[in-house]
């Protein structure tokens, strides 16, 4: 799964939902552990595979605007704990 969430909190909420189960225990995935690998489009491990010109066109602006380090940190931790 690849996310485009604007901050670490919302990325974490998504990622937890499809890995460990819905953390709010509200939706269809409450208590359901899908264990899907989740990445953010801005994480270097994903973004570096994209042709640089295309990445600039689609992601260049948001790379400056988003706190990529924080988002990456949260998702890396979640992937390791799965």
């Amino acid at each position: 799964m690849v996310l485009g969430a604007p901050d670490a909190d919302s990325a974490e909420l998504y990622a937890e939902t499809v890995t460990e189960g819905d953390p709010s225990w509200a939706g269809a995935l409450a208590g359901v552990s899908l264990g899907l690998p989740v990445f953010h489009i801005m994480e270097p491990v994903i973004k570096d595979q994209i042709d640089p010109a295309l990445a600039v066109e689609h992601l260049g602006l948001m790379e400056i605007a988003l706190d990529v380090e924080k988002i990456s940190g949260v998702l890396e931790r979640l992937r390791k704990s799965c």
Binding site: A5, P6, D7, D9, S10, E12, L13, S24, A26, E57, H58, L59, G60, L61, M62, I64, A65, L66
Partner: protein, 494 residues
């Protein structure tokens, strides 16, 4: 003989914003009928109790700092000095009456919904109606004709009998007391259910009160030529789903007897689209006095209540918001909508943020010969972060201001290290209720006009985005923008 009129009336003109009004109704009793709460409470009925215990009183809603900013008693910049969380730091001298409008308590608003009801859909209990009538008689924007329409109410037994059919929707006060109900409009029409009619009545009621405040402030209701609806409701029956023209339904209650009307639909950015269309109608001379009016989005009441309950905070999405914007011919003082500044997201633009902000901000600025930093303030998605963050939806205005600043970085107009300062100087904190077409840029209009009239500000760029994909018809992004500029006092000319 064919005469071509040469009166000044038909000369091209600059469109100006002559006034803007905002209206909030604090409706804790209706909040359980918002889309998300109603679905969750149906699945888990005991939830109703904890839901009710987290609803605010009217006094709390009035004293809530973002609400005071919304109706014009505080400046958006004042919020930076209010400690977080805002709901724990009430404004001591907060008032229901504001420079731009008011915050109305629930009982009076239910009365207004009844006044809007021409098809005997809404029944209110007689004792409740008597008490409301006393209050509305004191309100400067209600007339004897309104009180006639309010009627005398019905007995509680009548309301309970209506509710037995299962299709009727109960109306409670904040404490859970049954005070009325809304009936279905047609047994076999899913577009006229009690839920939809309750939503449409609340949109009409809130829009009409925003418009009444507007015509009370700027005068001459009968001079309004045309009304444009910018709301997100869908008025219609099974043969005309979303048929619309809420605009005229609202104007009818505000003395706008000379106005035609129609609605503009574009999700959250609908209100800004409507303002741009209004500017075009005035500039072209087709009409000279146009009002954009948008009632509240009922469906979003309590949308993020689960996050609020999780953090044991009050349910903050308990207000219905509405706006009315009057666009007219250049009067030499009201702020000007620059016709050469209009930005639009095009079908072929693509949906990367870069493409969206290029179309909505960078290209208009290039046309105007301005740099990003020459815009005093940007008005973007103004959602109150205290509402969105507990549910993991982030700080929407801050994200958008960072995107705008990042564009200035990409163009080499500011350094990357100056991004935070750009956000601080050219942005503001979110203070709007989260109802899309209200939160999208337009809450800033009142403050921008006030500051331009006093000479404190030169310009503000309004940038609205819409989420067309929510309707499952297209993946396209959407958006519209315009620059509002201080009137330099030279009337006429384009």
């Amino acid at each position: 003989m064919y005469i071509v009129s040469s009166s000044a009336h038909h000369q091209p003109t600059k469109p100006v914003v002559q006034g803007v009004s905002y209206f909030l109704a604090h409706v804790p009793g209706l909040t359980c009928h918002g889309s998300k709460p109603s679905r969750e409470i149906k699945k888990d009925p005991p939830l109703r109790e904890s839901f009710r215990s987290h609803l605010r009183t009217f006094e709390e809603a009035v004293a809530y700092p973002p609400n005071q900013v919304f109706i014009g008693n505080l400046d958006p910049d004042d919020l930076a000095h209010v400690p977080s969380p805002w709901y724990k730091h009430p404004v001591r001298d907060g008032s229901r009456w504001g420079l731009f409008g008011e915050i109305m308590p629930e009982d009076e608003f239910y009365g207004m919904m009844k006044i809007c009801d021409e098809f005997q859909l809404l029944l209110l209990e007689e004792g409740f109606v008597r008490a409301v009538a006393v209050k509305l008689r004191q309100h400067p924007l209600f007339s004897d004709a309104d009180l006639l329409r309010l009627g005398n109410g019905v007995s509680l037994a009548d309301i309970e009998r209506q509710l037995a059919d299962g299709a009727t929707l109960p109306m409670y006060d904040r404490g859970g007391r049954l005070v009325g109900c809304v009936r279905t409009g047609h047994e076999e029409d899913p577009n006229l259910t009690a839920e939809i009619l309750m939503e449409n009545l609340s949109v009409r009621a809130s829009g009409a009160l925003a418009l009444r405040h507007q015509v009370a402030a700027t005068g001459r209701a009968e001079a309004v030529d045309f009304l444009l609806g910018g709301g997100e409701e869908a008025v219609g029956d099974r043969y005309n789903r979303g048929g619309g023209n809420m605009a005229k339904a609202i104007g009818e209650l505000c003395g706008c007897s000379g106005a035609g009307g129609a609605d503009i639909k574009a999700f959250c950015s609908g209100t800004v689209h409507a303002i741009v269309v209004a500017a075009g109608l005035v500039a072209s001379g087709i009409f000279s006095d146009v009002v954009v009016v948008a009632g509240g989005s009922f469906a979003k009441l309590g949308m993020k209540f689960q996050g609020h309950l999780r953090h044991d905070m009050p349910i903050l999405e308990d207000v219905i918001a509405a706006i009315a914007v009057r666009v007219g011919r250049d009067d030499g003082k009201s702020p000007v909508i620059r016709l050469d500044s209009i930005g639009k997201h095009e079908i072929g633009s693509g949906s990367s943020q870069q493409a969206i902000f290029d179309k909505l901000i960078a290209q208009p600025l290039d046309r105007l010969g301005l740099k990003f930093t020459q815009i005093d303030k940007y008005a973007t998605e103004m959602h109150n972060p205290e509402i969105t963050e507990p549910q993991g939806s982030g700080n929407v205005p801050r994200t958008n201001y960072r995107i705008i600043g990042s564009f200035a970085v990409l163009r080499g107009e500011i350094q990357r290290a100056d991004l935070d300062r750009f956000v601080e100087e050219h942005g503001m904190l979110g203070f709007s209720s989260t109802q899309g077409h209200i939160a999208s840029a337009v809450p800033v209009l009142g403050h921008a006009i006030r500051k331009m009239l006093s000479g404190e500000r030169n310009n503000t760029m309004f940038v609205a985005k819409g989420s067309l994909f929510l309707g499952r018809m297209t993946q396209l992004a959407d958006g519209m923008s315009f620059l509002l500029e201080r009137n330099k006092g030279t009337q006429g000319g384009v």
